[in-house]
Amino acid sequence: MEFLRLEDLSIAYETPFGLIHATTGVNFDVRRGESVCLVGESGSGKSTVGLAIAMALPPNARVMSGRILYGGVDLLRLSEEERKKYSGREVSIVFQDPAATLNPLFTIGEQISDVLMSNLGLRKDEALNRARKFLEIVGLPDSERVLKSFPHELSGGMLQRVNIAIAISTEPKVLVADEPTTMLDVILQAQILELFEKLKRELKLTLIFITHNLGVASEVCDRIIVMYAGTIVEDGPADEVISRPMHPYTIGLLDCVPRAHIRDRKLRSIPGSLPDLSKPLTHCPFADRCEEVREICTRAIPTSIDVNPGHRVSCFKYIG
């Protein structure tokens, strides 16, 4: 049995203007201890996939089809009682904005101990001891002061460490990180990425890392899944996707990354924008922006094809 398996996951959001199809037929397996990056631009559906795994979909999300199997249990169809056993305990999530994820009116200590008391049934002093331990793990050695601080008294980097400490303090097996470094400056970004490396190594966490930054993705992850308009366009080992991208979108995305050491390389962007997600897909979603578009691309949705072992691409270029 696979550790974590997403099968044909299609999620749409109900809006006043109708349904928005955030993901369409997303399939992938994650091995235990693997770290997977979901990469894509805004609106590619990467966060929706992450939130679905963490059971944190907003109330207006509708699961149109598919399952998320975790040890054989479908996380999308749990009762409220069962959900509490998995959410936070087995699967945790770190959000993008570290300051907004903490309640401004209570100290860090109170917020961590609340989680531990309700989740693991600890007493207050046990919870605080455990909180100290995990604050030290995430690189906040002055845990006593941090526990007594209000969120506004800590810096963005420290707050994100606190959020990570809360997320891992219940010792989940899967950690979803939804753009955890986007709101931080470059130096802090590097530190937080190092922290994820360390956690992955020491706690054997299975990491689902969501980012729009391919550079960040290749730092942290064994495997990169590139998403576009709610579909997976490419999925392969991180170094292979970076060094030998196959899908025209991945190639375009890599050209968008500024690289200081290559002076005469022209920074490019991908012209056009995402297709209209209010209509279900009828053909390759990237066809309108693709430089290598063919006639078939505007008529059918490409199926994914293995180009190398463990490296698949959804593009007609490789199909026929």
Binding site: L102, N103, V115, S118
Partner: protein
């Protein structure tokens, strides 16, 4: 700080006033002395005397008690009804929330004073009934205010994060949603303390609230009103008392706002140290 002092002394005065009166019979309005009618303020009668020759200073002092009961009673009752309803409606939403809010809207559709008058007239005269009828016409405002706040706070990332980390609805409601939604309501409540005194005075004026000779401030103002040309002090001093009290509660509202937010609390403490 000034607000705090005013409000504390108002509460203290309200509690001890019956025991510090120099002329209790004047204060309770059981005397009638024609020779002392309409005396202007003097050393003996600092606030003058009224049309029945009663000492206004004593009446105003005792009045603090009734005004305090009205202010705290009306706003307190309205908060006790209004906050839980708004919190439940906002947090759970859906059919339950809709049902609660439509009932609230029905109450809001009546002009509040009119509703209070109708209720007071039905319930009968007296202080308790005046408080009750004002509270019943008052709570929908708090329900609506807290409902809107809860809806804003409910979508904050820390509420999502708490849900994902497996915290229960009750914990989220009382630790994350309510404390963050409460500030505007507490400010509104502090401001309303003054309005409650004024509206109770309105009821008394119409003859359906507190009855004379009870020295309630609003009643004192309205009783002095018809002789304002010959004896300004009868309305003036109770009016001044209302003004100072309302001002005190308004300043208190500011204090409440600063105290409830840890970010502002620090600046406030810092200012006080300097």
């Amino acid at each position: 700080m000034a607000g705090f002092i005013i409000v504390i002394s108002f509460i203290a005065l309200g509690m001890i006033s019956p025991y510090v009166l120099t002329r209790p019979e004047d204060a309770w309005g059981t005397t009638y002395d024609v020779s002392k009618r309409y005396l202007p303020p003097s050393l003996e009668h600092p606030f003058g005397t009224d049309e029945y020759g009663r000492d206004m200073f004593n009446r105003v002092i005792l009045g603090a008690r009734f005004s305090l009961m009205i202010a705290v009673g009306v706003v307190g009752l309205a908060l006790i009804i209004g906050i839980p309803l708004g919190l439940i409606a906002g947090y759970f939403g859906g059919k339950l929330g809709n049902a609660v809010m439509r009932v609230t809207d029905m109450f809001l559709a009546f002009p509040p004073l009119l509703l209070a008058i109708a209720l007071a007239a039905t319930l009968g005269r007296g202080l308790e009934n005046a408080i009750l009828s004002l509270a019943i016409s008052w709570w929908p405002w708090y329900t609506r205010l807290i409902y809107v706040q809860v809806n804003t706070v409910k979508s904050m990332p820390y509420v999502d994060a708490a849900k994902v980390m497996g915290l229960g609805d009750l914990t989220i409601m009382f630790k994350h949603v309510l404390p963050n939604a409460l500030t505007p309501v507490m400010i509104q409540a502090a401001l309303d303390m003054g309005s409650a005194v004024l509206e109770a005075a309105g009821l008394s004026f119409l003859g359906i609230g507190v009855q004379p000779p009870t020295p309630e401030w609003g009643l004192l103002v309205s009783q002095g009103w018809h002789s304002i040309n010959v004896a300004w002090w009868i309305s003036f001093f109770p009016g001044l008392a209302i003004l100072v009290t309302v001002l005190g509660f308004n300043l208190l509202a500011d204090f409440v706002r600063e105290f409830m937010d840890p970010r502002l609390r620090i600046t406030m403490m810092a200012k006080r140290v300097i």
